[in-house]
Symmetry: C3
Subunit: 264 residues, 3 copies
Amino acid sequence: MPQPIITLTTDFGDDSPYVAAMKGVVLAINPEARLIDLSHQIPPQDLRHAAFFLASAVPYFPTGVIHVIVVDPGVGTERALLAVEVAGHRMLVPDNGCWTLLASEASGPPSVRRLAEPRYWRQSVSATFHGRDILAPAAAHLSLGVPFDALGPAATVWVRLETCPPDLANGCLRGEVVFVDHFGNLVSNIPADAFLALADRPVRITVGEREVPRRVRTYADAEPGRVVALIGSAQRLEIAVTQGSAAQRLQAGVGTPIVVTVCS
Amino acid sequence: MPQPIITLTTDFGDDSPYVAAMKGVVLAINPEARLIDLSHQIPPQDLRHAAFFLASAVPYFPTGVIHVIVVDPGVGTERALLAVEVAGHRMLVPDNGCWTLLASEASGPPSVRRLAEPRYWRQSVSATFHGRDILAPAAAHLSLGVPFDALGPAATVWVRLETCPPDLANGCLRGEVVFVDHFGNLVSNIPADAFLALADRPVRITVGEREVPRRVRTYADAEPGRVVALIGSAQRLEIAVTQGSAAQRLQAGVGTPIVVTVCS
Amino acid sequence: MPQPIITLTTDFGDDSPYVAAMKGVVLAINPEARLIDLSHQIPPQDLRHAAFFLASAVPYFPTGVIHVIVVDPGVGTERALLAVEVAGHRMLVPDNGCWTLLASEASGPPSVRRLAEPRYWRQSVSATFHGRDILAPAAAHLSLGVPFDALGPAATVWVRLETCPPDLANGCLRGEVVFVDHFGNLVSNIPADAFLALADRPVRITVGEREVPRRVRTYADAEPGRVVALIGSAQRLEIAVTQGSAAQRLQAGVGTPIVVTVCS
């Protein structure tokens, strides 16, 4: 049997000792656990970024992997901490909705427990760092074979992150930018199939006030510096600048409207 | 027996090949070693940041883990390289004091060796990269079972990082910011117990010239944007801005005075 | 036998989900693979940076390790994807030359295959993310024991990154900055031996228009703030500022000329 795998996703950055402390806590409980960093550069307390990140990353992992997510603006308040299983992917996560986009794209309902068994926590729990004091030790115990259901009682309500699906009316598909990647590519909430259903006809694509002049299959299909629209690797409509940053060029970011209009 | 674990903490950043070279050197000597990144974003040559980082991270690890630390402004000079054991935590580290804060908070004295056995180094040692040429291979050999004491002779003197403990006089507790985390939280050198001994009475807390208007248990106990004081996860007095950066708001950083005064 | 090791080097940054998705893909195919991050901060699409990075890091690893490199401005076009073996180091890499500097410094010719066996890819291959859809799964299959030669047919031509070797004429050695590290040190393309062959006589060293006043053995041999020349850990002439950034101080970067002139 392979060694159990625990991944870490946080907004702690790479210069603070918080991630390192969590790794220490996991290994002190289960020295065999294999730790994998997903990201520690989720923008501070940005739940939408975290939601898109998880939905775009977790499904590629094999089931059984334990994912610890610490983006937790409500730490220390009455917000719950959850153990969630979605399509075999296990997550330990604050109850702030950052996992519900992933769940909404999965087949089958999630299984959700509210962490309530202090025997799986650090003995002393701070008011400001539940990632170290509750989530990391719970993950380590889970990796040792503690049953998922032993972590706490079933939860039936939880926070859902509101997402704004794209809207189709009168041959006009209105969506928005939901993620800006490291290259400045603008990922929209418009699924490939919704776009392609329109785009066998000539369409006009706008980002904010700016029109996207060209549609391509991949970034390098246009000359450097051209603004292009394409279906990205997340199977969504994406706006890019070949060898450049669409976010900078178009002064666009999360929430900027993207509209696809059938030319009449 | 679990595979030996070697952690890496450096100020090398993530775009340079230096960390990767160290990982290669370790694995070439012990392919079974498990490498764990603690941080490569210690600010360049910032020994105080490194000291706080280590004191806040290393104690959470199980004993037996080998920690390699490369923040080394004196590389290539006559400064020694050390193997240090503090409460079972093993560190390979330049003799610049970045580990002595950790040691001062541990029970029991450290065991210290001066690295002096070239058979555990790379054959060719550069003048500018002892992390790759001495510390990484020494860690790899240690992980293979080379005895700690074989790395070199016992050292009895080493550089200590001067720390400035908080001062209590006339009901006034004077400390300073010793760490600014990724969120802009200001961590002070005032221990929770020293603060709490005063703070059962009404107290006034100032950061530089600015007064902190409110004391809370956790960040989210105040509205977004409020400046608050709280006991942080390192069990020290900490100044924060709910969902914001106290460092930016208060124009404060490492060394900014923090004063707690009992109101009379 | 130790578990197979797969390293990852990309320009994806640490806030995007792309690296995490690649890790998931590898582990879904081979849960025993040990993943090691080399860097995800290669500047976007900067092949020269990637080339220097790989040449400075990969040779330190034991042979047999599989290195996946995703700096891929041509993703989705007709550019090939390659499996390369150089002196026992295995790389999966787009055919853009980022590995040829490493190969040019190795003894013996590379063995190169063009990835052409979709059975070792993800079932659905996007036009914009071959790191996830082709390179990561190919690496995972390789780590499971698939023979190198099974990945595709031998390649006999590939893209080579042009490098500009330093030029020696009339006692004047003309090179340039090829890498700027995290500390702002300027690494040149002038090898130690070429420099040392001249530098037993008095020499004048310039970076752009600025003269370097002092030559040292290691950074700390000069007072803080001094501009110095030294032989760096890559065995090349390097320009540094003690406890400072030569890149900032000298307003220099990749491509800035470095000239060594024998004083007459």
